[in-house]
């Protein structure tokens, strides 16, 4: 069970909607088991079926996370036309086993779905989200 404040869930959905039909992506920094900061990042692929966090932004964010002694807690991206579940591409490119992978699906535009997964050595395990106000 992973506790997350509603405003971060809303922010991920808002980012996904803003980038639609392209996939959005971003990073969650954590401290003491809660989210310290949500970073919207640039998807250099600018594509409806690929994401890749801009390498320069990635390095800057990692620096900031280290400087603040935060943890690299999560990565989020959107699937604009498919379900909120890691695709084979997501799994094969999941190089951050310590992080939680958040998926935002806009497949049903009236009901965006956010789910979270651990992806470790090619295995996908869902983490239930407990959303608080």
């Amino acid at each position: 069970m992973y506790k997350i404040e509603k405003r971060y869930v809303d922010e991920m959905v808002a980012h996904a909607v803003a980038e639609k039909p392209n996939e959005c992506c971003g990073i969650l920094a954590g401290v003491d088991g809660r989210i310290a900061k949500l970073y919207r990042t640039t998807n250099i692929e600018a594509s409806p079926y690929r994401y890749n966090v801009h390498p320069k932004e990635l390095l800057q964010i990692l620096d900031e996370i280290d400087d603040n002694e935060w943890q690299f807690s999560g990565i989020y991206h959107s699937h604009t036309f498919s379900e909120a579940y890691p695709s084979p591409t997501d799994v094969s490119l999941a190089f951050w086993p310590e992080a939680l992978y958040f998926l935002v699906s806009l497949a049903d535009s009236h009901n965006p779905v956010v789910r979270a997964f651990h992806i470790v050595d090619g295995k996908v395990t869902e983490e239930q989200l407990q959303v608080s106000e």
Binding site: R50, V53, K56, L59, P86, S87, E98
Partner: protein, 364 residues
């Protein structure tokens, strides 16, 4: 050179949980070799089977991504800070609902399927000439979902083109061909990114344009461009789907670098003026439809790695006899370009080589 290397969390288990490690090397490549000796597991992450840095690994020198510097050969000096960071990347393999329907006849074929359709959508094909051959080839590649199609053409649409060049319409007469090609393709398939190179292909720009693509399709109407495209594709290591037409006859083949080229087939151009072009001799309007469509099929087979390529064979089409014949082609060991002792080692002056500076502006 001793440099400090930043290791992000996912790789720290490979470096004994150290955030920073020391490494040695005068270039990024030497540093990676040095790190690989100390931390063999790290080496497997930063090199693929071809010993290249995979696209999903970002390497930075003093906060600058090395692809913006000199890649693996980026020099290092004492005290530099290097970071090796895996990309945050992925993506849905799903198609949009519209794409599922649009490409359904491809996707249901096991030889294409969703994987093949994705390959087509990721492919980049350059078409030299948005004329007689480039028109049907470009149209069918676009409708097949080839994601990026480039056209090199500096001509404008002439009324006499409309007897065969299906990319252009009557309302386009006088417009640049690449603009009219872009509009026509967008109307058929808005998924396709069309890149227009509104300039003649020359020895100066060929090695900038051609390496941006996976495959080149030749629809040039003159010998100088044909030799130029052949040589540039060989130097850039790109497969070339070649086609040509004359009155009622067509010729087709595929050149794969190192397995024969246009110069193996035709070591020297004909004397200037001996072979008339389409503007002088005429051409059956339907003929480039047949030849251009076969070129599109060969390009798709290369993208999908399907069937037997025309590489090593010259296909001859005679519309009056209604016959297709084939002759075998071989790489010529004495070829000045791809032979054992090449004398053409860079692009040359092709108009001088072909001896006919101006007959070349007209289009097939």
């Amino acid at each position: 050179m001793a440099v400090t290397v930043y290791i992000p969390t996912p790789f720290r288990r490979l470096t004994g949980n150290r955030i920073y490690v020391e490494g040695q090397g005068g270039t990024v490549a030497e540093l990676l070799d040095n790190l690989g000796q100390v931390y063999p597991a790290l080496k497997d992450m930063v090199y693929d089977q071809q010993q290249e840095i995979p696209a999903h690994i970002n390497i930075y020198v003093n906060k600058q991504e090395i692809n913006a510097l000199q890649g693996k050969q980026t020099p290092l000096k004492e005290g530099d800070e290097v970071a090796v960071i895996p990309a945050l990347a992925g993506g849905s393999t799903a198609f949009t609902p519209e794409q599922v329907v649009r490409y359904s006849r491809h996707i249901i074929m096991p030889q294409v399927g969703s994987t093949g359709q994705r390959k087509l959508m990721d492919a980049k094909v350059l078409i030299v000439g948005a004329g007689g051959l480039g028109s049907p080839a470009g149209l069918y590649l676009a409708m097949a979902g080839v994601g990026t199609i480039g056209f090199v053409d500096f001509d404008t649409v002439d009324l006499s083109n409309l007897q065969r060049q299906v990319l252009h319409h009557t309302k386009d007469v006088g417009r640049p061909k690449i603009e009219s090609a872009r509009d026509t393709i967008a109307a058929y398939n808005p998924d396709v990114k069309v890149i227009g190179h509104n300039e003649p292909l020359t020895s100066d720009n060929a090695m900038e344009i051609i390496p941006q693509y996976d495959i080149v399709l030749n629809g040039a109407d003159n010998f100088a461009t044909r030799y130029l495209v052949n040589d540039a594709c060989y130097f850039a290591g790109k497969p070339l789907v070649d086609g040509s037409i004359f009155t009622f006859d067509g010729q087709l083949t595929v050149f794969i670098p190192g397995k024969g080229c246009y110069r193996c087939l035709y070591p020297a151009p004909p004397p200037p003026g001996l072979v008339p072009n389409c503007a002088e001799a005429g051409v059956l309007g339907v003929l480039p439809g047949v030849v251009g469509c076969i070129q599109a099929i060969e390009a798709i087979k290369l993208i999908l790695d399907l069937g037997d390529s025309l590489n090593g064979r010259l296909l001859l089409f005679d519309a009056l006899a209604m016959e297709f014949r084939q002759v075998k082609l071989r790489r010529d060991p004495d070829c000045p370009l791809c032979g054992d002792n090449p004398t053409v080692t860079e692009l040359i002056d092709y108009e001088e080589f072909c001896g006919s500076p101006f007959a070349m502006a007209q289009h097939a």
